[in-house]
Homo-oligomer: 83 residues x 2
């Protein structure tokens, strides 16, 4: 199965990288852009007997390694097939 | 409107960060995981008269600043509302 994981900073947590991108976009003339937030996007293949089994393993991986639950939120999508 | 942008390395481009995450997951016992690819995830607010207008501006921003079209692919979703 293919898993797509999205990790983003919790609202309220300062995001200097997002701010830098926002400033750069404004400098390039894209002044209609506001509130840029930068996060991580992971794609991976996982072998599991069912979507439910994959879901519980992926949640563990996110809590332990892929996201920092103190300052980051994560969500993921599981699809059939391989990358 | 809220725009969610996903930037990932083109297939064939080496991804050392993804490889490092894969090794760490294996060390933690998640051996069912393969082919980890690391990318970027951006969320932002944009003001535009229509989805079509926003789409063309966002595509420009991706080509000029947010992605490196030589080695990265990008896709994005536009939703009504604000972050």
């Amino acid at each position: 199965m293919v898993v797509k994981i999205f990790v983003s900073l919790k609202s309220g947590v300062l995001d200097p990288q997002g701010k830098a991108i926002e400033r750069s976009l404004h400098t390039l003339g894209y002044s209609e852009v506001q509130d840029v937030r930068m996060g991580k996007y992971l794609e991976l293949n996982v072998e599991a007997s069912s979507h439910e089994a994959a879901e519980s393993r992926i949640r563990e991986m996110c809590e332990k390694l892929l996201a920092n639950p103190v300052i980051e939120d994560y969500r993921f999508e599981i699809e059939d097939g391989t990358l």
